[in-house]
Every structure is written in C-alpha cells, then in structure tokens.
C-alpha cells in the first residue's frame, strides 16, 4: 500500500460472515490491528479494517453491511480492536456483537450527548444537543 493515495475500489469487499476467518488467518501471520474506519454510504455502512504486517506494510479488509445487519467483533482475536469497535458502535450505531469489553455506547459520549453523531442522517427521534 502506498503511503498516501488509495484508489477507490482497488480491493474487493468480503462478506461479514467471512470476516472472522480472514482475521484469524492474518493474526496467525503475525499481523496486528491498526485501525478501522467506518463510512456511512447511503443505506449501507462501509467498514475498512487496517492491519499492519511485521514488515510495516498495511493490509486492508473491506466489509459492507446494511444498516441493521450485525457485525461480529474481532476483539476475541485481536484484543486492541475493542476500543475502536466500541467507538464505531457509539458513533454510527453499527450493531457489533460479542465485544470483549462493551462500554454500552458510553465510552466517549454521555447520556446527554447527541447520540450516533457521525451518521449523515440522524434518526428523527433524537434531538441534537441533548436535554437539560
């Protein structure tokens, strides 16, 4: 992977069912978790997992899920992914299951903060700015 430019659609998407198997394979090669990026694309979430090899190259996995689909957590394989998965769950409302430590959407936000702030269109029932 280049230092900067990544062309769109350069790598294929994998299905959420095959995710755990893929990550397990990578973990057995000594790959570690770097970060994950969630994008709100129309009716779907696009989630990019970024890993790092011992040679310091980066590996990428892309997953697309619909907004009410469940996504298995990879924190059972790579524990340090747990903070980022909690963040995505909190910011986008992605349904991530089997989290090693579940902060219940209260890791960065509080009960009064605007919930799922990074969604492009927020659900109508939630008011911005919370309530006194």
């Amino acid at each position: 992977m280049q230092q900067v430019r990544v062309d769109r659609g350069a790598d294929a998407f994998i299905s959420p069912g095959a995710l755990l198997k893929e990550v397990e394979l990578l973990a057995s090669e000594g790959v570690r978790f770097t970060t994950m990026v969630c994008l709100d694309v129309d009716q779907e979430f696009e989630i990019i997992y970024l890993f790092q090899r011992l040679t310091l190259d980066m590996v990428r996995i892309r997953v697309r899920i619909s907004k009410d689909e469940e996504l298995p957590s990879i924190s059972s394989i790579l524990l340090d992914a747990v903070l980022m998965e909690n963040e995505i769950k909190e910011f986008f409302g992605v349904r991530i299951t089997n989290l090693a430590i579940d902060f219940q959407c209260r890791m960065l936000l509080s009960a009064k903060s605007p919930q799922t702030p990074l969604l492009k269109v927020r659900p109508q029932s939630q008011s911005l700015g919370g309530g006194e």
């Binding site: 992977m1 230092q3 900067v4 430019r5 990544v6 062309d7 769109r8 000594g30 570690r32 978790f33 770097t34 970060t35 990026v37 994008l39 709100d40 990019i48 970024l50 011992l54 310091l56 980066m58 790579l78 524990l79 340090d80 747990v82 903070l83 980022m84 910011f91 209260r106 890791m107 960065l108 936000l109 509080s110 702030p117 990074l118």
Partner: protein
C-alpha cells in the same frame, strides 16, 4: 483479602488532563484497572465534515496542543497526496525543522512531568526551563508558542529567513548545553532509576500484539518509526529509529531522552540542507478519492484517513491518534504494580487524552 475500587481522576494533580482510571486494589497492589475516557471528547471528526477543507488545518491542529504542528502536517500531507500537489523543497525542510522542534518540546514536557510524578521537583523545573528555549525558537520563527498554525496545504506560511537562522542555531546550542546537563540525571540518578527500572513491564511480543506505537513500542525493542516511511524529507536525512530493550518505564524514558538529542541533530541537518525557493504553491483543486497517511508524532504513529468527493467538504476524516492504541498497554502494565507506581506507569506511555478522544 478485601478489594477496594476507587477512582484515579478525572481531576488529579499528576495528570493535567481529565482521564479516570478505576483501580481495584488488594492492599497496596493494583489487581484490575478500567480506563474511563470521554471527559475530553469534542467531536472533531464530525466538525471536520462541516468545515471547508482548508479550515480543517486549524481544527486538526487543536486536536492536541502539544504536538499541534505534526497534526497539521499530517492533515496537509494527506490532502496534498490526495490532490497530487508537489510541495516546494524549502517548505518540506521547514516542516521538518518545526516538527522536530515540537517533538523536542513535547519530550521535554514529558520528561518534566515524569520527574514531577515521582516528586523530583527540581528536575521538573529544570526540564521546563530548558523547554522554554525551544518555545522561544518556535515563537520567533512561526509566531506562536504552542499552536504554530504555520502549515498550510501546499506549503508553509512562515519562513526562517537569513537574520533568524543564526539566532535559531544559537538557541539550539544553548539547548544542547541544557540537555547535556539533564541527560546524566535521568540516565544515572538513583532516585530516577529506583522509580522507573523494572516498573510497568511490557514484554516485546505483547507490545506488538497490543498495537502500541511510538516510544512505548520502541522501548520494548521494536525498531519501528513512521519517519522511516520518508514523508517530508526524512528519507534524505540520516535518520535511524532509537530502540531500547528494557521493556520497562526506564527504557521508554531513555528512548525519549535519546530522541531529544536526535531531533536536535535533525533540526541542524535540515537547517544546513535548506534550499532556497518558494514557500508554498497555490492549490486550486478539491480532494477526491481516498487517502491514508502515517506520520510519527512524539507519542507514536498517527494514522489519518480521508475520503473526498470533489467538493470543498470532506466526506469523512478519520484520525487514529497514538494514545488511542497505547491505552490497551496500560491494561497489561498496571495490574500487579503498587499503588504508588500508578502515576509513573501511566505517565510512561505519555498519555495525551485530548488526542485520544478528539
């Protein structure tokens, strides 16, 4: 034995920032730790989508006031990469000078706070006095002390001109004298060694698998530094990552201490090699497509991802800050230590909460 759980923070004299550690103790020994974060969360990633993309430089700079120049540099390099902008060589050298200066000031700040966390007041004061020389240099050349605002997309806004350059070199010589006086204290002093050697062990394998970055990783024997990827002009400068094998707080401290000396040499090298020429190029396009960048902050590797759609607003900006991936290491380092060592071990990863929570 009775277990007691009590909060460390969010307002605590050792940590200038708000983080809470819920420590479960048996007598004086910590058995469990749960970091409670979120006291500094602002929502910068969302605001970055609502701002014009050049304005995000100033927002990204204020993710963290200590390594602010490097945050701005990272964002600018990312945007330049996405828009295929070639930065003039003089601007690249100036970026190296300022980012190394801010690395020195961050490490000196940290060394002082570490000394403060085990009660070595006079060393704390001496580190901070030495740090003011660097801050003066930054103010003289960029115009502000801690938040420099001198990096823009396409180059830099300020210059180190001919009358200033001898002054910068003089200040660097003055700083070298100071660091030469401080170095043996950290390296050899009985008080420092007894509080750091063997405290907060992070084994080599775990340091990799827990995803730690920066001095925390290099203190456990991995020679990984994002500067070796060669952004700005780091590939032209003689640069070798600094590695220590101790795996404890002392090793992490020595990595930072050596990095101060190394950064000083890098500043001088960049000043020597600085070519003449333009400071910035005008940028007329908008970012499109995806981009990913890794740069080295004082605290470790900073990863930024952006997606643009050809308009003046970004679709998404994701910032993975170094402390975010260093926090899991605390879960390994803290259990088993004594309560009195908690501040020292927490400080040893150089936690920057403002970075973590954005």
């Amino acid at each position: 034995m009775a277990r007691v759980t009590f909060p460390f923070g969010p307002q605590h004299p050792v940590l200038p920032e708000a983080i809470q550690l819920q420590l479960t103790c048996e007598d004086e020994r910590v058995v469990e730790v749960l970091p409670v974060i979120g006291y500094m969360h602002r929502g910068i990633e969302k605001a970055a989508e609502a701002n014009l993309f050049p304005n995000n430089i100033f927002l990204c700079e204020r993710i963290c006031g200590i390594c602010s120049f490097i945050h701005a540099l990272c964002y600018c390099e990312l945007m330049e990469g996405m828009m295929d902008v070639e930065v003039p060589p003089r601007a690249k050298h100036l970026r190296v000078v300022w980012s190394e200066l801010s690395r020195i000031h961050s490490h000196m700040l940290w060394l002082g706070l570490l000394a403060d966390s085990f009660g070595f007041e006079s060393l704390f004061m001496q580190c901070w006095r030495a740090r003011e020389i660097i801050l003066d240099t930054l103010e003289m050349t960029t115009g502000q002390r801690v938040i420099q605002s001198s990096c823009v997309i396409g180059g830099v806004r300020r210059d180190i001109n001919e009358d200033q350059e001898p002054d910068v070199r003089r200040k660097m010589d003055a700083f070298r004298k100071e660091i030469n006086a401080i170095y043996p204290v950290f390296a050899k002093d009985y008080t420092v060694k007894s509080r750091t050697v063997g405290k907060g062990i992070l084994p080599k394998e775990q340091a990799w698998s827990l995803g730690t970055v920066g001095p925390t990783l290099r203190g456990s024997g991995w020679d990984y530094d994002a500067r070796t990827l060669g952004y700005a002009v780091y590939d032209d400068l003689g640069f070798e990552p600094i590695v220590e094998d101790g795996c404890d707080s002392y090793a992490r401290m020595m990595v930072r201490l050596h990095e101060v000396v190394q950064s000083l040499e890098l500043v001088i090298q960049a000043l020597d090699r600085m070519p003449k020429g333009d400071l910035a190029v005008t940028v007329k396009t908008f970012p499109e497509g995806e981009g990913l960048i890794r740069v080295e902050q004082p605290r470790g590797e900073l990863v930024e991802y952006a997606r643009g759609n050809g308009t003046a607003y970004l679709e998404r900006l994701k910032i993975r800050t170094p402390t975010f991936s260093n926090i899991p290491a605390l879960l390994v380092m803290l259990p088993g230590c004594e309560l009195a060592d908690v501040p020292v071990i927490t400080m040893s990863i150089d936690p920057c909460i403002a970075c973590t929570e954005r």
